[in-house]
Symmetry: C2
Subunit: 161 residues, 2 copies
């Protein structure tokens, strides 16, 4: 089985970051794996980090909070946000903050496009400035997203099997 590619586009001079990833699974299967609090720690974040999910309450007004930890150095990273829109298997809109870049909150949308048994997941992030977007890209955004998408794919394969 080949791995579907994940593309991250961060056009210079804009505060946007766009991701596209296809899955060989239905929007319902992708949405479930992505939002079930018991499953989130198994796909979210870079592979080399250990993930603790403190809260993942996927509903409008719900909050999430998680702490990836580098087992080699012991360094912890703290992320948090709130959900603005949750339309099951269709659309999620949420805020996103890396607490080390405090105040630099971004807004992310994830659209689940139905390809007829397959799914195209379309992510769009907007940052409060071009510089904040550039800093997040420089701090390993692509690694985190690519690993997350590949791990999500593997998790869906297990749960759909």
């Amino acid at each position: 089985m080949t791995t579907n590619p994940t593309t991250l586009t961060a056009t210079p001079g804009t505060p946007f970051a766009d991701t596209v990833r296809e899955f060989d699974a239905t929007p319902e299967q992708v949405f479930r794996a992505q939002t079930d609090p018991d499953l989130v720690a198994h796909w979210l974040g870079p592979r080399k980090l250990e993930m603790t999910v403190l809260e993942y309450d996927v509903r409008p007004g719900g909050s999430y909070r998680y702490i990836p930890r580098d087992p080699a150095s012991g360094t912890e990273y703290r992320f948090r946000g709130v959900f603005h829109t949750v339309e099951k298997s269709v659309l999620i809109i949420q805020t996103f903050e890396w607490e080390s870049a405090s105040g630099q909150v971004s807004l992310e949308s994830s659209r689940f496009e139905d390809l007829g048994g397959r799914t195209r997941l379309i992510g769009h992030s907007v940052f409060p400035s071009v510089e904040a977007r550039d800093a997040m890209v420089d701090n390993g955004m692509e690694r985190g997203i690519v690993d997350s998408m590949n791990r999500l794919d593997e998790l869906i394969a297990v749960h759909a099997g």
Copy 2:
């Protein structure tokens, strides 16, 4: 008494909108008038609309929802969002959606800068696209903001008196 000016800057080709407004009151006074659910309906929105505030829960993860109504035409406008950050008298970060432009959610920050007994309120909004920002400006964003800031100022004068 002269009215302090409100400036709105929407630089062409960017998804940002920036507002600056000074108040002859402390950050604590401005923050209180801006966030007290009992006071919000008295300052929020254009003067010519009647405001119904259904919810205004100013805390991280809290939601707000309000409906300005044009008494002449009966037209209602529905707005909603969630609060991501609430630092008393310092910083508010919240999502913002006009439900008629559904899915076009923006993220707003409001910083309360202490000028020593006076306050500079600095607003920064970022939209998911340049087009979404332009559409909001075209739909009367400036009128809503200028009226809101002037009415907030009048309310503070009453409550500080």
